[in-house]
């Protein structure tokens, strides 16, 4: 199990980081919408704030690593992972669509660390979810959680090849190769 303190620390880090980013970059606007005459340059952010953000990132990553290190929950499954992510996301309120790509990246990291179909689903699925609309977050997460019960089948399809399918594929390959040469007597 993951210690509550670590989850709390992770959530606090994310919240703090979010508020900092909100302060520095107005929500819902991108660089192309800057006022006329303002330089369009990503380097026009205060250097000190960037360092601070990087610090939060470091804290968050450490916490994430620690959390994952304690993850003896692969057998309890994907549902638990999604629950944790759900807690993280629901604690972040007021963030707009502009953060979608950002969170997609963060969760992608988680996905990459978890690895395999679970990780891909956690990172790609939830991340891209959040990248769309927060309003539909709960329903979509629910559907993700519900679909988690199907995961073993997905794993079977990906990792353990169906013997019959494999046999046919092999036969086809061998026959195709043979057709290029060799003549029946």
């Amino acid at each position: 199990m993951i210690p509550d303190t670590e989850i709390t620390a992770l959530i606090q880090s994310l919240n703090k980081m979010t508020s900092e980013i909100t302060r520095l970059i107005p929500v819902g606007r991108n660089s192309a919408e800057k006022e006329p005459g303002t330089a369009v340059n990503s380097l026009d952010k205060p250097a000190a704030s960037s360092a601070e953000i990087a610090g939060y990132f470091g804290i968050m990553l450490d916490t994430t690593k620690s959390m994952l290190g304690n993850m003896g929950l692969m057998d309890t499954g994907f549902t638990k992972t999604v629950q944790i992510i759900l807690q993280l996301l629901s604690s972040i309120t007021g963030s707009g669509g502009g953060f979608g790509g950002f969170f997609s990246g963060i969760l992608g990291v988680i996905g990459g660390i978890v690895g395999g179909p679970l990780g891909a689903a956690a990172g790609g699925g939830i991340g891209s979810l959040f990248g769309r609309q927060q309003l539909s977050l709960n329903s979509q997460l629910n559907s993700s959680i519900n679909s988690s019960s199907q995961m073993p089948q997905i794993i079977n399809q990906v990792v353990v090849k169906n013997p019959v399918t494999f046999t046919r594929a092999f036969d086809v390959e061998v026959k195709t190769r043979s057709l290029r040469g060799g003549i029946d007597l």
Binding site: F170, K175, S178, G181, G182, I183, D184, L185
Partner: protein
């Protein structure tokens, strides 16, 4: 690396040939053999026989002249007639022979891209031989009722009149009878019987090549064809048609090649059991078969001795719409059931229609004609006599089945390993298909050749691990 090319007029080298001219090349371009493939059998099939083909490019810049002083272009395309060409590629002791019709030759006069050449598509000499034998009906084999021929005598008789004086039949050193006696010492004789052969109806529409292949499958032997060494200079080179049993290869000295590249794979999956059906007839309740099915460790076979014409058992019975194969013993107890395409595959032995002559028994199934269907495999023309306790059983097929099983084990499930290897051309050994190779103490059989590179002196081939008894 000479290439001998002989030009003939006619249809088939083994049937009709008039020597016209010949050409010897000591050089071919670096891309002279863009396609080169010789095979023995389909890696995924059962009881299939395959041959090969190759393309040969000859540069039009080459200055060699034919025996009749023709240039390369004129030798191949100077005149349109019923010409065909015999091409022999000789690398040391090895030879590869193909036949190309004039219609399979094309000249490319594009000067760029290193073309400006004549391209010949050549088919394996074994295909030419098969075509010759396909053109003769089985009914033309002179094999009268009352005649008894040993395996060796029968094979010679089977090809009598087809060899065109340029084919020599090479038979195994060990006679077929000796081979069977190693399995059952109480065998009195083993013959092909003229009466049995003549039971089969419609032989005027069955080719000798087809029946030969059926015989090979049913008895478990194999065959190949290659040049008789030393005859490549003759205007009519000779060929050896070699008939052999896989089990004999273990006695040949293995070739130890110099390996350049090697990759490994497993053959297409096989099922656990293989069923050989030598004779069958259909009743309403089942198809009763004279045959055997076997796995790596066990076998169940019918028993065809006793000529009472009434006892069906033990038998291999096929029921459930041809899906379920059962071995029913002499007490009519079902000992074993296997399911088609799940547990077993059937060796595709053609079941020929037959019609018994009166008073010529063929074992206990005699007089049970195929009223509702069934037939007889060509190899069932052979029969043994065995002594049991002072009595002779005259209709014994068990030793023949047993010997076939030994040679067909590569078709059952045992995960035969395939290696694709590239080896240095060995000029001392005559490396042929089915050659026996030694790789670090493990023995392999040469199944197919997929590339011959004469510039770099290497040859690519597939070999399978030899699971010989």
């Amino acid at each position: 690396m000479p290439v001998y090319i002989k030009k003939y007029r006619g249809g088939n080298y083994f049937n009709e040939r008039v020597f016209v001219d010949s050409l010897v090349l000591n050089y071919i371009p670096s891309d002279g053999l863009p396609v080169f493939r010789f095979e023995t059998e389909d890696a995924a099939g059962i009881g299939t026989y395959r041959a090969g083909d190759f393309d040969l490019n000859i540069s039009l810049l080459q200055k060699e002249l034919s025996q009749n002083r023709s240039s390369i272009r004129d030798f191949f395309l100077g005149e349109e007639r019923d010409f065909y060409y015999l091409i022999i590629i000789k690398t040391g002791a090895q030879t590869f022979t193909g036949v190309s019709q004039q219609s399979q030759i094309a000249a490319d006069y594009t000067y760029s891209q290193n073309r400006w050449h004549v391209k010949l598509t050549c088919k394996d000499i074994l295909i030419e031989w098969a075509k010759r034998c396909e053109a003769a009906a089985n009914s033309t084999i002179n094999f009268a009722n009352g005649e008894q021929l040993t395996f060796e005598e029968y094979i010679v008789r089977h090809f009598a009149g087809l060899t065109g004086s340029v084919v020599m039949i090479e038979l195994p050193q060990k006679t077929y009878l000796e081979r069977l006696r190693e399995l059952y010492s109480n065998i009195q004789w083993c013959y092909a019987l003229g009466d049995y052969r003549n039971f089969i109806t419609g032989q005027q529409n069955i080719s000798r090549w087809e029946t030969f292949k059926e015989l090979a499958k049913g008895l478990g032997f194999n065959f190949e064809m290659y040049l008789n060494p030393g005859t490549e200079d003759l205007s009519e080179p000779e060929f050896i048609f070699k008939i052999f049993f896989i089990t004999d290869l273990v006695y040949e000295p293995p070739v130890t090649p110099e390996i350049i590249e090697i990759t490994e794979s497993i053959t297409a999956p096989r099922l656990e059991w293989l069923f050989l059906k030598y004779r069958s007839f259909v009743f309403a309740e089942a198809e009763y078969a004279d045959g055997i099915f076997f796995s790596k460790d066990a076998s169940y076979g019918s028993d065809t001795n006793h000529g009472d014409g009434t006892t069906l058992y033990p038998t291999c019975a096929v029921t459930f719409q041809n899906k379920l194969l059962s071995y029913i013993n002499e007490n009519q107890v079902t000992e074993k059931n296997v399911v088609r395409d799940i547990d077993f595959k059937e060796m595709p032995l053609k079941q020929y229609n037959y019609d018994f002559n009166a008073n010529v028994p063929i074992g206990k199934l005699y007089q049970l004609d195929e009223a509702l269907g069934g037939g007889m495999a060509y190899s069932r023309i052979f029969n043994c006599a065995r002594v049991h306790g002072g009595n002779i059983d005259f209709y014994d097929f068990i030793p023949i089945q047993k010997n076939a099983v030994l040679n067909l084990k590569r078709f059952i499930k045992n995960e035969i390993k395939i290696l694709k290897i590239v080896i240095r051309l060995d000029y001392d050994h005559n490396l042929k298909l089915w050659s026996y190779l030694d790789l670090n103490g493990e023995n392999y059989l040469l199944k197919s050749i997929s590339e011959l590179d004469l510039q770099q002196n290497k040859i690519e081939m597939d070999i399978i691990k030899a699971s010989l008894p």
